[in-house]
């Protein structure tokens, strides 16, 4: 089995990694790049804790081969904070108690961010639909939904101040 040199673009940085074809993206992120914020749960695409953003869309990194994502933009939970400032979705999760054990939080936060990038004013139903691919065993989802809705509001407020839309 030939190993291959792939260039991965993760959180805006390029990494040259030698991988085997059977290595999944979550394995490479966690074990090679030591970006352990991405969690490995079921490994079968069911639980969603391995969610990362691939070209802006949430995907399952446990069902993605690392050799197949060369040249794509990958964002993990480590890539959300800017200049030491947490992303508004991260802040909202803390403020609203949307994190309990924390295992699903990276996936939930990234999914929430991807939703708000695409749809800055989602309804509660749209938030629930968006996060429906990630399982949380602690919160009962209510606080996660609240946090994403609140983040939408704060991003909107920020947008007004900074001229961002």
């Amino acid at each position: 089995m030939d190993k291959r040199l792939v260039q991965l673009r993760v959180n805006g940085e390029q990494y040259d990694v030698v991988v085997s074809p059977n290595e999944t993206l979550v394995e490479v992120l966690r074990e090679r790049l030591e970006l352990t914020g991405t969690k490995m749960g079921c490994g079968e695409g069911a639980c969603g804790t391995c969610t990362v953003l691939l070209d802006g869309k949430p995907i399952r990194s446990c069902l993605t081969l690392a050799v197949e994502v060369q040249g794509k933009e990958i964002v993990t939970i480590e890539g959300l904070a800017e200049d030491g400032q947490l992303h508004p979705v991260q802040k909202a999760f803390i403020e609203h108690g949307a994190i309990q054990c924390g295992f699903c939080s990276p996936a939930m936060i990234l999914t929430g961010k991807a939703l708000l990038d695409e749809n800055p004013h989602p309804t509660e139903a749209e938030v629930r639909q968006a996060i429906s691919g990630v399982v949380c065993r602690c919160t009962g989802y209510a606080k996660i939904v609240e946090a994403i809705m609140a983040a939408a509001d704060s991003l909107q407020g920020e947008g007004k101040h900074n001229g961002r839309t």
Binding site: M1, N22, G43, E44, G45, I59, L63, E68, T111, G133
Partner: protein, 328 residues
């Protein structure tokens, strides 16, 4: 658990992909979305020596309209079908079927054709090697018994695709290519009805395209699905209904197709007979729902018990017809 090792091939054309398949036959598997394949490999159900990455083949990711009919390429994602305005407007039943597959991230990864080509599933098959070794091989894994049905004479693994019912009810065909040539076949005939080997596809063939006939005036449809977790699971029973209503308020064309209640999608022929040429009354809907119940043959091998799933076919069929007829 790591994936077993394999060589990863990246064809730059459909011809090259086909020649890889012709060369490695059963030892090669196509990977598009990978959402079913990689899980099967992790479970040790498949151990191909070569994966042929379809994503490096250009021009397979498209949805286009040709002479009024719709064409869906082999790499078209479920999310594309779910979101595309032309599909939502002209083939809403397809958008609805796509948004019921698994969960949104898997719709971003998984393809329409991949969903059509899903392997059959069984509680005793889709398990880790550790789990399966305690019982020994069944028909599906090369053994001589069925664990789901005591004394079963053949594999009764369940076909749980979500897209096939809607596409079959719309009268779709598939274009199947191999290095030896190509054929166009009704989608319904892609399914053998055998649990062990559910697809009428040779190892060197690729489903390159799905062709959906253009919508006719007064056409409407609906899909209904029973699953344990509404947000993500495979269907435990599912139905797609496509009806056409003519100017006189008569049902001029009808298709009712079931999933997850047999070894392949189940076309309810009696439903078409009952509905066509008739006004859709409450009594008729009950008769059609009964015909769907009769056609469904679920066994106790996925999620929930078979008799409940069969009864739900009646409920879901009624709901789907009412929704479709009311929508027009």
């Amino acid at each position: 658990m790591h994936l077993p090792s394999f060589e990863h091939l990246e064809p730059s054309s459909l011809e090259e992909a086909l020649s890889f398949l012709a060369e490695h036959k059963e030892q090669a598997k196509l990977i598009a979305g990978g959402t079913e394949l990689l899980v099967s490999m992790r479970h040790g159900l498949l151990a191909p020596s070569h994966l042929v990455n379809l994503k490096t083949v250009p021009d397979l990711d498209f949805v286009s309209e040709h002479n009024g009919s719709l064409r869906i390429g082999a790499l078209t994602r479920l999310a594309t079908l779910r979101e595309m305005p032309a599909v939502r407007e002209r083939y809403p039943v397809l958008a609805r079927a796509a948004e019921m597959v698994a969960a949104p991230p898997l719709q971003v990864m998984g393809t329409v054709v991949g969903n059509l080509c899903l392997n059959t599933r069984c509680f005793y098959y889709n398990q880790s090697p550790f789990w399966r070794q305690a019982r020994g091989a069944c028909y599906k894994t090369g053994g001589d018994r069925c664990h789901a049905i005591k004394g079963g004479k053949r594999c009764l693994a369940t076909y749980q695709g979500d897209m096939a019912p809607a596409l079959i009810a719309l009268g779709s065909t598939v274009r199947v290519v191999s290095s030896g040539g190509e054929r166009e076949t009704p989608l319904a005939e892609l399914y053998t009805g055998r649990g062990k080997r559910p697809l009428a596809l040779e190892p060197d063939e690729i489903v390159a395209e799905v062709r959906v006939p253009g919508p006719v005036d007064g056409m409407s449809g609906d899909c209904q699905k029973l699953r344990l977790r509404g947000s993500m699971d495979f269907p435990l029973a599912g139905v797609a209904v496509v009806l056409s209503r003519n100017g006189a308020g008569i049902c001029s064309r009808a298709g009712v197709v079931l999933t997850a209640v047999g070894t392949g999608p189940v076309v309810v022929e009696d439903a078409t007979q009952l509905l066509e040429g008739q006004q859709v009354t409450d009594g008729l809907v009950s008769q059609v729902a009964e015909a769907a119940y009769e056609a469904a043959r679920p066994v106790d091998n996925v999620g929930s018990d078979a008799s409940y799933r069969r009864k739900m076919v009646r409920v879901l069929t009624r709901r789907a017809i009412m929704n479709a007829w009311g929508k027009e």
